[in-house]
Symmetry: C2
Subunit: 846 residues, 2 copies
């Protein structure tokens, strides 16, 4: 290690000292700011990262000189000061400088009890953190003889007396903290929080305030907003350690401000509280942040020891940022950048109230955020039955398989004994926006007894009520108190600001009027994907669908479809009305027909009866329509071309609804999207028929309307051939779910079984169904967008897969010049904020 001459080994923090966050860490910088605004901070010395690195390598600074800065016989604290407070660091060590002489002096001035307590605390911390002795041997509470026992234990274990020299004490403390930073565990922990490999540690050494003293003494913390809601309110406690005989109760804990629950510091010393509030306001204004302030009182004198960013929930984070901006303390741009987009998704779900009591039964991996309460069910069928009764259920399985998807749709949350973040249950639940815990390995499901057995002998039957907290992985007994989604003013204000700066559109995927209302509520700029097939699964429609499937000729199919027409029309009118003139992009029928047919013998028998056809015919038809790989089968535009009556009916329903909704409200220009295209000619054929239907409806109704026909790019071939496809398409919308499946040759429904292994072994850096695969699928987006635009200047480009709401995808699509992304309604706020972030980031770079 070279000796550096170009930096001070340590620097006393004064208003004008050269303290730099990158070099001395956030805490040193923060303390300097407090000093600059004249807060009463005890003398503090900062050790820059270079010094700490040198210490770890064995080169100690001049600690005697350092101690000298604090005057004669000081007691000191040493605290970590990395560049970012999130990166952690070794624990604080207090009372460095304590030794027999200092102990004797303190016994004189403060009494034996106080002197013992201070010395014991130091010996324990030193033994554990510096000498690395067994913590169990140094766990004794203060009391008669405890100090002596600790000193003897230290000598016995180390064969040396406890060090008396404060310089040596400080050197050893610094060395142990510097080395702890370089340990593997510490490194992994901070890297998990985003620290770079070269992240370094600064340290601050501060003069101790002796909070065990005569008169009003003690220590505490104060904050000025509620950590859960972000609302303005003073809170905190103070722990008094005024010495006995000074008219105080030792070890008393007080509220800070007047409180019906008990005594407060305000009652005892209103001027101190007033000073704290004044200091808080100064911090907020000058540090441009809500700060939590640590303070100490020594014989009535107030010292500010430290200040940290007030801890906050996502909800509070939004509120704080918005209020700081509204108060003119930060800019709106800063407010936007202070909120992590993904944090917003928490606000949209129910949360267990963090202030309410929790009866925790077990925990697992928090796989999909939000919380839900419901009755335990162990099978998908039971979940569906519960849904039919209007009851909330929690689907509890060893692990889920593709057959459980209907059950997952029906349940309010999912809990599995096995699996990881990319297990089937986790992947699907995130897609559905369903709270989910996986890998809850402490629980045991006994299917025979229909019981969920938890640790400590607790056991739940099917039908018992539990709460699943998918945000933190906790399983709670009974119905926990919930916080409703926090869509209050702060949330909406922030998103309005986001809309002012973002430069890529955000639409929602919405299939039902409910979805559409949510989309509008979240200010989506239209519907980017309306999947029409869900509309056919409702009981009455399903019967007609099946008649259609069993019809042998085009005309017979047409008769059945005529009966679906008014229902479809009503669906679209409802959507158009809700969206009030905003674009609605309707995807034509996509799934294979066999999805509408029964699969077990009993259901087939019922269907045969309903259709008045022989059972053999029903089973034959079901068999004939079954497919080896339905994902790659007769669906989408393939069905549209071979059974064109379906698209004809849908086009008619869309156009008739357009006429009807336009008469009542804003004019509607519907967007019609063709799924699963792989060749230009498919688009031509569908366009010809849809145009003909449009002409017929115009003719019949006498109303004029326009519409836009586009293509959902889901096959690699459609991306490669986008140039010629765009000749017939007003827009291309990339369906990244299917495109990912086909680019990887990977069925989403089947990938769960090995995705965990794959991500763990780094075969895929991320689950590509979760995070858009920029390298592969992204290249197809790039190729498709470039070729499509080259063929047609005014081509609208978008992404409508579930990736649409992910910040990574938005960044990528924005870079490609896409017009909008479309995502599930609950992801719209995240997408709006993320889009604003990227726009702001670009502005800063310019």
């Amino acid at each position: 290690m070279q000796k550096h001459s170009d930096f001070a080994e340590f620097t006393e923090i004064t208003p004008s000292a050269p303290i730099d966050k990158a070099r001395h860490g956030w805490r040193a910088k923060c303390l300097q700011r407090l000093i600059r605004i004249d807060l009463p901070v005890p003398r503090t010395v900062a050790l820059p990262c270079d010094t700490v690195r040198a210490i770890a390598a064995g080169q100690m600074p001049d600690t005697a000189r350092l101690i000298g800065l604090f005057g004669p016989e000081p007691l000191m604290s040493v605290r970590p000061s990395p560049e970012d407070p999130e990166w952690g660091g070794p624990g604080t060590v207090l009372n460095v400088g304590m030794n027999a002489a200092r102990h004797a002096a303190l016994t004189e001035t403060h009494g034996a009890e106080a002197a013992d307590a201070l010395y014991l605390a130091f010996v324990q911390a030193y033994a554990i953190h510096v000498a690395r002795l067994d913590p169990d041997m140094f766990a004794e509470a203060p009391g008669p003889g405890a100090l002596r026992a600790a000193l003897r234990a230290y000598e016995d274990e180390t064969d040396t007396p406890f060090p008396e020299d404060p310089a040596r004490q400080l050197s050893e403390v610094l060395r142990s903290m510097a080395r702890a930073w370089e340990g593997t565990t510490a490194r992994l922990l901070r890297e998990a929080k985003g620290a770079p490999a070269e992240a370094a540690l600064g340290l601050v050494v501060q003069d101790m305030v002796l909070a065990i003293a005569p008169g009003l003494s003690g220590s505490g913390a104060i904050q000025f907003v509620d950590s859960v809601t972000g609302a303005a309110m003073v809170s905190g406690r103070v722990h008094l350690q005024s010495l006995k005989g000074a008219g105080e109760k030792p070890g008393e804990t007080l509220f800070l401000t007047k409180d019906p629950r008990g005594d407060s510091l305000e009652d005892r010393a209103p001027e101190v509280v007033e000073a704290l509030i004044r200091h808080g306001a100064a911090c907020r204004a000058r540090l441009r942040e809500e700060m939590r302030i640590e303070f100490a009182l020594e014989s009535g004198e107030l010292w500010i020891i430290d200040a940290t960013r007030t801890p906050r929930s996502s909800r509070a984070g939004v509120k704080i940022a918005v209020v700081l901006a509204e108060d003119g303390i930060i800019s709106r741009e800063d407010a936007l950048l202070r909120v992590e987009p993904r944090a917003l998704s928490e606000l949209l779900h129910h949360q267990v109230d963090p202030r309410a009591p929790r009866d925790r039964v077990a925990r697992g991996i928090a796989a999909s955020p939000g919380a839900a309460t419901g009755r335990i069910v162990f099978t998908s069928a039971a979940a569906q039955a519960a849904a039919a009764r209007g009851e909330a259920s929690i689907l509890v399985r060893r692990e889920t398989t593709p057959e459980d998807i209907r059950g997952m749709h029906a349940a309010h949350a999912v809990l599995t004994e096995r699996g990881g973040m990319t297990s089937h249950a986790a992947v699907i639940a995130r897609g559905l926006g369903l709270p989910c815990i996986v890998g809850a390995s402490d629980i045991r499901i006994d299917l025979r007894e229909r019981r969920l057995n938890a640790p400590n002998g607790r056991s739940f039957r099917e039908g018992d009520v539990i709460t699943v907290d998918g945000s933190n992985g906790e399983i709670l007994a009974g119905a926990a108190e919930m916080l409703a989604p926090a869509l209050d003013g702060g949330f909406r204000t922030l998103l309005d600001w986001a809309d002012e700066v973002r430069d890529i559109g955000v639409r929602a995927n919405a299939d039902t009027p409910d979805d559409a209302r949510t989309a509008r509520d979240f200010a989506a700029e239209g519907i980017g994907l309306c999947r029409t097939e869900h509309m056919f699964f409702e009981e009455d429609r399903l019967t007609v669908m099946r008649e259609m499937i069993f019809a042998d000729t085009g005309p017979d199919r047409r008769v059945a479809l005529e009966r679906l027409l008014p229902m479809q029309r009503a669906d679209f009118i409802a959507l158009f009305d809700i969206m009030a003139g905003q674009p609605v992009c309707i995807r034509l029928f996509d799934p294979p027909l066999h999805e509408f047919l029964p699969h077990d013998r009993e259901e087939m028998r019922e269907l045969a009866e309903a259709l008045d056809r022989p059972l053999s015919e029903v089973t034959r038809r079901v068999e004939a329509l079954s497919e080896f790989n339905p994902m790659l089968g007769m669906r989408g535009v393939r069905l549209g071309i071979t059974v064109p009556e379906i698209y004809d009916m849908q086009a008619r329903a869309i156009f008739e609804a357009t006429v009807e909704a336009s008469r009542r409200g804003a004019p509607v220009v519907p967007e019609i999207m063709i799924p699963l295209v792989s060749a230009k000619r498919e688009v031509e054929l569908v366009k010809t028929r849809v145009d003909a239907v449009a002409a017929a409806v115009r003719n019949e109704t006498g109303a004029d309307f326009t519409y836009r026909l586009g293509v959902m790019v889901e096959t690699p071939r459609a991306a490669l051939r986008a140039g010629e496809i765009a000749q017939h398409a007003a827009f291309l919308s990339f369906g990244t779910n299917d495109l990912t499946q086909m680019t990887y040759g990977l069925s989403r429904d089947d990938a769960g079984r090995f995705m965990g292994t794959y991500v763990n072994q780094g075969v895929y850096s991320e689950d590509p169904f979760h995070i858009l695969d920029i390298d592969g699928v992204g290249e197809l987006l790039n190729i498709g967008a470039a070729r499509g635009r080259a063929a047609r200047d005014d081509l609208t480009l978008s992404v409508c897969g579930e990736h649409g709401g992910n910040p990574e995808s938005i960044e990528f699509c924005r870079a490609l010049g896409f017009d909008y992304v479309s995502c599930s309604p609950f992801r719209v706020p995240v997408a709006r904020l993320a889009a604003a972030h990227f726009a702001l980031r670009d502005r800063k770079q310019v």
Copy 2:
């Protein structure tokens, strides 16, 4: 229509006349060649295409002047002369110029019967082809009163007398032929044979030889090779029409050369036959082709009317081309170019002997070439049972579904009532090299009675023997006489010549020793794809596979796999021995494990017994392994990474076999190919383990060997990421079957249901599983090859999908600089010849 002044309206064909094939058609050119070699060709006049086009547009040349070229009162024939004889054209019209006066004169010179016959033939042809009257009214045979009746019918129908003026007759004949060429049917027919849209027609007008005459008169044709085998032999007939009373029997048909079956022209007039043979030899030498010569005799004088390319089977085509080259008449290159590569595939299959009697029952669409005889079975199970008994069976189905695939494997041919060229049956049968007829709509399958009912009341039971001729679509009763595959000297000589000129390698896909022997027999340069999974379906191995699947831990799986190791090793030793040092590329295990498990309850029960496990466990495992989209599921390298013991065992088997086979024969450098790769890391992980196994085997055996590890590019992502994948791969082999499925999002097993509609409607110009999709899949090949090569100069590139043997794919791969194509053994000859064609074509262009 403009009058062209830059061409003669017609030209008499003389040795020096400016006759040009492109302008006057092949027949005019051919006749000029015959004239140049002094053959006795009657006077002939050629009308160029421009003239014929003008005629169709209403602008008639000077027919009176044209007739004048033939001297006074000629009789003329008019024949079509398009540029290529394959393009067809209107039928020949004879005896133009016949009228009452000429009839009277002929009655004088040749007698009434001859005059009537000549006149009647012309009236009938004129009425039908020129006046477009009902052919049924002009069908009467020559005889008393027939001529008069025909003339009266003509007058009644047209209200005009039959034209007497030869110039008008000729004009009308020319006009009708010119217009017929432009009809839609004629255009579609010739375009189906490859004619361009602008293909034009020339015509030749020739002086009639009056083959009804005193003395030796008549007409016939002679050819000098056998049309089926191509062997040298004179054959043909002459139909004599010597007039009665001249000592001849009228209407006699003779052999040409001495023949035990009857009289011959050689007996009657040896000098004529000698002249014909002389003329034939001259033709062959000067026209550089085997020609069939049409001739006429008028009172003993020999005239050569026309000559056409001798009709020939594919087999004869090969023989003729090779012998012409061996005789020095054409070059080897020309011989190669004269054989269409696809024609070779016919030679590799059994064919019904065209000379043998055929009891034709019905016909359908010839969907996959070759013929087979066997017993009728109506179910796949019955086909499998027959195969188990060693009996040949013909699988007869309404249409096949994916469940029939095992039955198709077991049957010797497939016959379906429904479907077209791209139906499931057709597509699969072509893949399997199985004779197949589809769309045999005349037959009715009665499954209840287990009967095949054919037209004319014929009926066959299950077990009855029939023959399916997949080359021409005929269903024959009983066992037809067959020609064995024609792999004689000509075939091998031609392919040897092909190997001398081609510049892209050809390997075979071969899974079994039988396949490998066929591959070597067809001179494949190694095995490009050896699928190892077939090796696990054999009875004894299947049991062990299932034990492996039911093992719960890696070590347990390893125990089961240890028992498969010696079998796999023996498989590979056999292949290495047969291929004698040529490269063998072994694909590691690919299919999903559930393919090895039973699917019905009874089989599961048996398996539970065999494994000594509860049935519930078996059913649970079967369910757990089942997949929604097996094509996109847990297979290929995904299995290799999650259950690495399988690849470990296979690698060991390969390396131990390498050591063993190298000890006995040529040194083996095995190629190991990883299937279904989508990310670089998959290759790294497998490579690490395979390298470790190689090191272990080297260590245990003390033998040194090398091997090459490569990747099968089957997912679009692997093609896109080929640059980084190639860093760890010695070769990339594109599996175009799966790559097509994923690029289109189209399951081959499920596409049959709509592929017919799609190809008919031009949605896809071709079935992409049949003809490589250059635009989409081809671009991925291009991207993958370019990126792979850029990363690694010495990268070997190839295609191993079923497209590998198609000339279109070979052309494409050659253009991309691929090292080899690999195809089914039976496609190897086609590929070798096609590759030679492309090399020769390039040479000519240079």
